[in-house]
C-alpha cells in the first residue's frame, strides 16, 4: 500500500486482466505492491505461490509476460519494468489461474521430485525420454511463452568509444563520473535503472548535508551538463571482453507504450579504462518455508518504502544477521508502518528505536497460503508466533563481482564482510569501487569512487581532483548465518526451486565440487543466474562437505549479466539484413523478364528466362541451351571476380600464384590459369588476360573472388614482398557479358564500332573495342564450347548493353540464357566449377597435372608432388553418361562396381555435377572415379542413398560434346 502520497502522474495498467492504478516512476513491482498484489507467479518446478522478492534486476520470482501478439515478451522481471499507461502484464506458469494452479500438485509430489530426479527416473527406456517424459516435463516446468508470431519490434545495435566507462551510478559511480568528468575525460556512465542514484534512491542517508536522492539528482544534472560525459540510463553492462570492450543492453523504448524507436539497443562499448561500481546484492537466509509471498529482501522493503512510498505490508517483521535489520525498522517506523518484530541472529545487539527486538533469534517457520500470515521464531527468550504480512530478510550483502570474472578472474573470500570481493587486475584497465569492492558505507563508496577516477584519469594524462562530500560511515557489522534448522524446505534458489536438502543430497551423492553441485541441483541456472542465491548455496555446500567457503569456491560467472534477447544481439541481421545483396547491372532487366533469381554467394543471378507456354524450368533451359548451340546466347558474367594486376613484376607474380606460366603469355592474349593452395589442392581457376607488358586482368570464379583477393594480398605481402606489383578488385567496375554461339561474331559486329574478324581475333585473344563510342574490352573465350566472346564495359553502361545484346540476339534467333543453361553447356564440355574443385581435389585429380609447371616455384608446387596426391587410385575426373539416356543421374550419388554392395568400403567415387543434355539427348554428368582415365567405357552404378536413386552409367571422357573443340575455334 502507498504510505507516502505520490507526486507522479497517475497511470493505469492491468495484471492478469484486472485494472490497477500506479504513478509515473513506478516499476510494475512497486505498482503491484502499492495495490496490495502479493502473489505474482508460480515457481518453476513445484508451482509454489511466489511474490516479489527484490527491487532490482536480480529478481528471481516476479517474472511476468508483457504485451500481446507479436510483441509479447515473456519472462520479464516486474522489478525492472517501467510502468506506462495501458501496460498489460500477465502471470506465467499457472493454469487455469494464478490462485488455482493445477500443477501445484507438483508440490505435493515434492518428495519424489528431489534434485537429480529427472536424471535418475527418466533414464530408461531411452525412447521414452523424447516421446513421453520430456514433453510432460516441459509442459509442467515452463516459464512464459512466446506468441509464435514473427517479432514485429525493431532492435538496434551500436558502437561507442570513451576514455572511462563507469558501470553503475550509485554513490561510487556518480562520484567516479563526477571526478573523471570534471578532469576532462570522455566518460560514459551506464546504469541499469531508469533513474541514476543506486541505493541513494532507496535509503534515507544524507550526502553533503542533503538527502542522498537529492545529491544524486544534482550530480546527474551536473554530469548531464558536461559535454564530455554521456549518461546511459536503462543500460545494463552485460559483459566484459578483451581489450576494454564491453557489451551493454539499452532499453530504448520498452518503457513507453508505443514508439517507432527500437525496443532495445545492444551496445559494444570500447573504453580505455573502466570503473566498476555495480554495488552489491542482498542475499536471503535459508529458513523453513522462506518463499511465501510477502517474504522479501530487507533492502527491497526499504527501496519500495523510500523510493516509491510503498509499504509492502501492514505489520512488518525483519530477520537479519546484520545492521540492515534495524535500519529497515527505523525507516518503516518513520513512515508510520508497524514493525511487528526484529529478529536478529546476533546475541549482542541493541534496538535503534521502539520496536520489539528478538536477539539470538531465528525464523523457524512461516504460514499463509497465497501470502504470509504469520511466522514462528525462536530467540533468547523462547519460541513464539508473530502475526505479520511482510517479512524482510537480510543475510548480508554480496558485492556484484560478476563483470570482474568474465575474463577468468576468481573472486576472493573476505571474512570481514562474509562474502567474495574481486581480485585486483581481473579485467585489464578496470578499477572496482564502492560496494562492488566491499566498501559498505556511503562515505566509503564516495571515497573509493573518487579514488578510482583519480587513478584512471591520472593514467590517461589528466589532472583529477578528488572532492568527496561527507556521508554516513557506519561500520558494516555482520555475523555469518546461512541456514536455519526446522521443519519444511529452506529455499535458496527461488527461481529454480533449489533448497538446502537438494544441496546436501548433492554432497551426499558425491557431487561435492561446486560446479558439480550446480549441475546436479540446477542451482543458479535459471534466468537470474543465482544472483542473490549462489553464495548461500555454496555456504550450505561448504557446510555439508565440511570444507570452508573459500575452499569451496564459486562457480564461473559468465556473460551476460542479465538476459539479453537474441533479437537485440542479432539486431540488423534479420531477414535481408542477414546478408547484403549484390545485384548485377542486368538485374532489373532479368527480373522484368520473369527470371527467378538465385543466390550465388551474395550475388543474385537469373536461373532461366521463362517464355509463355513453358511449363517447367527444364523447357526454358533446353531452349536457352539451343540458343547457344544453334544461334547465339547472351549471359551476364559480371559476378566473376575481376582483379586488375599491374607492375613490372606482374608476370612474375602470376607465375607464382598460378601453377602454370603467365610470363610467356603474349600481350592481347588470354590463358586459362589454375591456382593451388599451398597444400597442393586446387583453390580456384579462371582466365587471365594480358592487356599490356605490365598489365593483366585476372578472373576468378564468382564463389572464390573474395578468397582469391585475400590470397593475393597474402602472397604479395608475406611470401613475395620482393615483387613490384599492385592489384585491385575491379569486379564491380566492369559489366561483362558472354556472347556465345555460332552467330556470336555476327551479333558482336552489329554492336561494335569496328567489326572483328577471325584472323585478328583468334580464340584466346583479347583487346580494346568500342561500342557506341564507349571503350570496352573484348575477350575471345568460351565456357560453352562454342565460338564465344566476353564483352566488358564500365558498369554504368551494363544495363543498356545487356538490352542491346539481348535484342540483337533475339533478332538472330537466340536470346538471353541463365544459370541453368550455363551449367548444362559447361557440363557437356567438361568444364569444371566449384562443384568439382571443392577443396579436396588436386590438379592431378582433374587431369591437369601437367599444367603444374616444374620449371618454377609456385604456391602449392612442392606439396602437389607428394606421393599420396599422385596415385592412380585417387578418384579422378570423368564424364558420366546414363546407359539408358532417360535415366536420371543425381549429384552426390556414389559410384560402385556393378554387383558390389553399395557400402562405403566399396566406394569407387562420386557424382559432382549432373544435367539433362538436350544436345546429346541424355542425362549426363561429371564425377570422380578411382583410376578414372583408365576406365573409359566401363559401366558403373551411381547409388544415391539419400534420394533412393540408382542409375547405371558409362564412364566417359569429361568432354562429351565436340571433343576436338572445333566449334570453339571456328
Amino acid at each position: 500500500m502507498r504510505v507516502i502520497k505520490p507526486t507522479g502522474t497517475p497511470l493505469t495498467f492491468t495484471f492478469d486482466g484486472v485494472q490497477y492504478r500506479g504513478v509515473e516512476g513506478d516499476t510494475l513491482a512497486s505498482a503491484l505492491l502499492a495495490n496490495g498484489v502479493k502473489l505474482v507467479g508460480r515457481s518453476f518446478k513445484y508451482h509454489r505461490p511466489r511474490g516479489i522478492v527484490t527491487a532490482g534486476s536480480e529478481e528471481p520470482n516476479a517474472l511476468v509476460t508483457i504485451g500481446t501478439g507479436p510483441s509479447q515478451e515473456p519472462n520479464v522481471r516486474a522489478t525492472t519494468v517501467q510502468l506506462f499507461n495501458g501496460l498489460e502484464a500477465r502471470s506465467q506458469n499457472a493454469w487455469p489461474s494464478l490462485k488455482r494452479d493445477a500443477m501445484a500438485v507438483n508440490d505435493l509430489a515434492a518428495p519424489f521430485l528431489s534434485a537429480g530426479f529427472y536424471y535418475k527416473t527418466f533414464m530408461w527406456p531411452k525412447a521414452f525420454w523424447e516421446k513421453l517424459y520430456e514433453p510432460i516435463i516441459r509442459r509442467a516446468a515452463g516459464l512464459g511463452a512466446l506468441s509464435g508470431e514473427a517479432n514485429s519490434d525493431t532492435y538496434e545495435k551500436a558502437f561507442a568509444h570513451c576514455d572511462v566507462l563507469v558501470i553503475g551510478a550509485g554513490p561510487a559511480g556518480l562520484m567516479a563520473a563526477l571526478t573523471a568528468g570534471r578532469a576532462g575525460a570522455d566518460v560514459i556512465v551506464a546504469d541499469e535503472d531508469a533513474v541514476m542514484g543506486g541505493r541513494l534512491l532507496a535509503e534515507t542517508f544524507d550526502v553533503d548535508g542533503q538527502a542522498g536522492a537529492d545529491w544524486a539528482a544534482d550530480a546527474v544534472a551536473e554530469l548531464a551538463a558536461m559535454p564530455n560525459v554521456r549518461l546511459m540510463p536503462r543500460t545494463t553492462v552485460t559483459g566484459a571482453y578483451d581489450q576494454g570492450t564491453f557489451g551493454a543492453l539499452e532499453e530504448v523504448s520498452r518503457h513507453v507504450p508505443r514508439s517507432d524507436a527500437p525496443r532495445e539497443c545492444f551496445w559494444r562499448i570500447t573504453a580505455k579504462r573502466s570503473i566498476l561500481c555495480a554495488g552489491a546484492l542482498e542475499r536471503p537466509i535459508a529458513f523453513p518455508n522462506n518463499d511465501r509471498p510477502g517474504i522479501m529482501m530487507a533492502s527491497a522493503v526499504r527501496a519500495y518504502l523510500n523510493r516509491w512510498g510503498v509499504a509492502p505490508g501492514k505489520a512488518v517483521t525483519i530477520f537479519a544477521n546484520n545492521d540492515d535489520a534495524h535500519r529497515t525498522a527505523v525507516d518503516l517506523m518513520d513512515a508510520g508502518v508497524k514493525v511487528a518484530g526484529v529478529i536478529d541472529s546476533r546475541a549482542d545487539v541493541a534496538a535503534l528505536g521502539d520496536y520489539p527486538l528478538y536477539t539470538s533469534g531465528a525464523v523457524i517457520g512461516t504460514k499463509g497460503r497465497h501470502a504470509l500470515d504469520s511466522i514462528t521464531i525462536t530467540h533468547a527468550g523462547g519460541t513464539r508466533e508473530l502475526r505479520t504480512d511482510c517479512l524482510a530478510m537480510s543475510g548480508g550483502w554480496n558485492p556484484t563481482v560478476h563483470l570482474t570474472c568474465h575474463m577468468n578472474g576468481r573472486p576472493q573470500w573476505d571474512d570481514a564482510i562474509q562474502s567474495f570481493v574481486p581480485v585486483e587486475g581481473a579485467i585489464p584497465g578496470m578499477v572496482v569501487a564502492g560496494a562492488a569492492n566491499g566498501q559498505m558505507s556511503t562515505a566509503a563508496c564516495l571515497q573509493s569512487g573518487a579514488q578510482a577516477a583519480c587513478a584512471v584519469a591520472t593514467e590517461l594524462g589528466l589532472s583529477p581532483v578528488a572532492d568527496v562530500p561527507s556521508a554516513e560511515d557506519d561500520p558494516y557489522r555482520i555475523e555469518p548465518l546461512w541456514q536455519v534448522d526446522g521443519k519444511g524446505r529452506k529455499w535458496i534458489d527461488f527461481q529454480n526451486d533449489v533448497h538446502v536438502k537438494d544441496i546436501k543430497l548433492s554432497a551426499q551423492e558425491n557431487f561435492r565440487s561446486v560446479e558439480h553441485m550446480k549441475r546436479y541441483t540446477t542451482q543458479g541456472m535459471a534466468t537470474d543466474q543465482g544472483k542473490s542465491s549462489n553464495v548461500v548455496a555454496l555456504a550450505v555446500l561448504a557446510d555439508a562437505t565440511g570444507r570452508g567457503i573459500p575452499e569451496t569456491g564459486t562457480t564461473t560467472f559468465r556473460p551476460p549479466y542479465v538476459p539479453v534477447s537474441i533479437a537485440a544481439m542479432g539486431a540488423g541481421s534479420q531477414g535481408h539484413g542477414f546478408a547484403p545483396k549484390r545485384l548485377t547491372t542486368s538485374h532489373h532487366a532479368s527480373v522484368a523478364r520473369g527470371a527467378p533469381m538465385i543466390e550465388a554467394g551474395l550475388w543474385y543471378r537469373p536461373s532461366y528466362f521463362p517464355h509463355p507456354g513453358e511449363a517447367t524450368w527444364l523447357e526454358s533451359c533446353n531452349r536457352e541451351v539451343g540458343y547457344v548451340r544453334n544461334a547465339v546466347g547472351v549471359c551476364d558474367v559480371s559476378t566473376l571476380g575481376k582483379i586488375d594486376i599491374q607492375g613490372p613484376d606482374a608476370a612474375a607474380f602470376l607465375d607464382f600464384v598460378y601453377c602454370n606460366t603467365f610470363s610467356t603469355l603474349k600481350e592481347n592474349r588470354v590463358r586459362y590459369g589454375l591456382m593451388l593452395r599451398e597444400d597442393g589442392h586446387v583453390m580456384d581457376d579462371g582466365t587471365t588476360a594480358r592487356l599490356g607488358a605490365d598489365h593483366y586482368v585476372m578472373t576468378t570464379t564468382t564463389a572464390a573472388a573474395g578468397q582469391v583477393m585475400t590470397h593475393l594480398d597474402w602472397v604479395s605481402q608475406a611470401l613475395r614482398p620482393d615483387l613490384d606489383v599492385r592489384f585491385a578488385s575491379v569486379t564491380e567496375q566492369w559489366a561483362q557479358f558472354a556472347v556465345a554461339g555460332p552467330q556470336a561474331r555476327e551479333l558482336l559486329n552489329s554492336v561494335l564500332d569496328d567489326a572483328v574478324d577471325g584472323d585478328a581475333w583468334p580464340f584466346m585473344s583479347c583487346g580494346p573495342v568500342s561500342i557506341g563510342g564507349v571503350k570496352g574490352r573484348l575477350f575471345r573465350i568460351s565456357f560453352s564450347g562454342e565460338h564465344a566472346y566476353e564483352l566488358a564495359v564500365p558498369s554504368r553502361y551494363g544495363a543498356s548493353l545487356f538490352r542491346l545484346l539481348t535484342a540483337q540476339a533475339e533478332a538472330l534467333g537466340g536470346g538471353a540464357y541463365g544459370m541453368e543453361a550455363l551449367n548444362v553447356l559447361r557440363i557437356e564440355k567438361g568444364f569444371i566449377t566449384h562443384a568439382e574443385i571443392h577443396g579436396r581435389v588436386t590438379a592431378f585429380d582433374i587431369g591437369f597435372d601437367r599444367m603444374v609447371s616444374q620449371k618454377k616455384d609456385c604456391v602449392g608446387n612442392a606439396a602437389s608432388r607428394r606421393p599420396g596426391l599422385l596415385e592412380a587410385e585417387r578418384p579422378q575426373l570423368v564424364g558420366l553418361k546414363a546407359v539408358d539416356p532417360k535415366d536420371k543421374i543425381t549429384a552426390g550419388a556414389h559410384l560402385f562396381v556393378e554387383g558390389a554392395d553399395p557400402v562405403s568400403a566399396n566406394d569407387q567415387g562420386y557424382v559432382s555435377s549432373v544435367c539433362w543434355s538436350p544436345t546429346l539427348g541424355s542425362h549426363i554428368g561429371l564425377g570422380f572415379v578411382a583410376d578414372g582415365p583408365n576406365r573409359m567405357g566401363e559401366h558403373i552404378v551411381a547409388v544415391d542413398h539419400v534420394r533412393g536413386v540408382r542409375t547405371l552409367v558409362e564412364v566417359c571422357h569429361p568432354v562429351q560434346f565436340d571433343p576436338e573443340g572445333e566449334r570453339t575455334r571456328g
Binding site: 571482453y241 578483451d242 581489450q243 585489464p428 599451398e678 608475406a718
Partner: protein, 86 residues
C-alpha cells in the same frame, strides 16, 4: 577484442580475418623436402602463453599483420606488417 593494425590503428576484431600461426611466413624452399613441407603445412604448437598469429585487415586496409598475443590472458602485446623485418 581489439587489434592494433600498424596502418589503421586499433580496430575491432570483426574487421579482421584470422589465418593462424605466423609460422606460415617461414615458407620452405621448393626442394626443402617432404618433412620440412609437412611441418610447414600441418604442424602447429598450441602454446599456453605467447603466440604470433596472422590476421588480415579485410574490412580495413587489406594488410596482413602478425599479432603477438597471450593465449592465457588474451593480452595483445603488439602487431606488425608481415613484410616488416622479423
Amino acid at each position: 577484442m581489439r587489434l592494433p593494425c600498424p596502418i589503421c590503428g586499433e580496430r575491432d576484431r570483426r574487421e579482421f580475418y584470422y589465418q593462424g600461426d605466423a609460422v606460415a611466413l617461414d615458407r620452405p624452399a621448393r626442394d626443402a623436402g617432404g618433412a620440412a613441407w609437412d611441418d610447414y603445412l600441418h604442424n602447429r604448437d598450441n602454446p599456453a602463453g605467447e603466440t604470433r598469429d596472422l590476421w588480415h585487415h579485410a574490412a580495413g586496409c587489406g594488410a596482413w599483420i602478425v599479432v603477438t598475443r597471450d593465449t592465457v590472458t588474451h593480452a595483445v602485446s603488439g602487431a606488425k606488417l608481415v613484410g616488416a623485418k622479423r
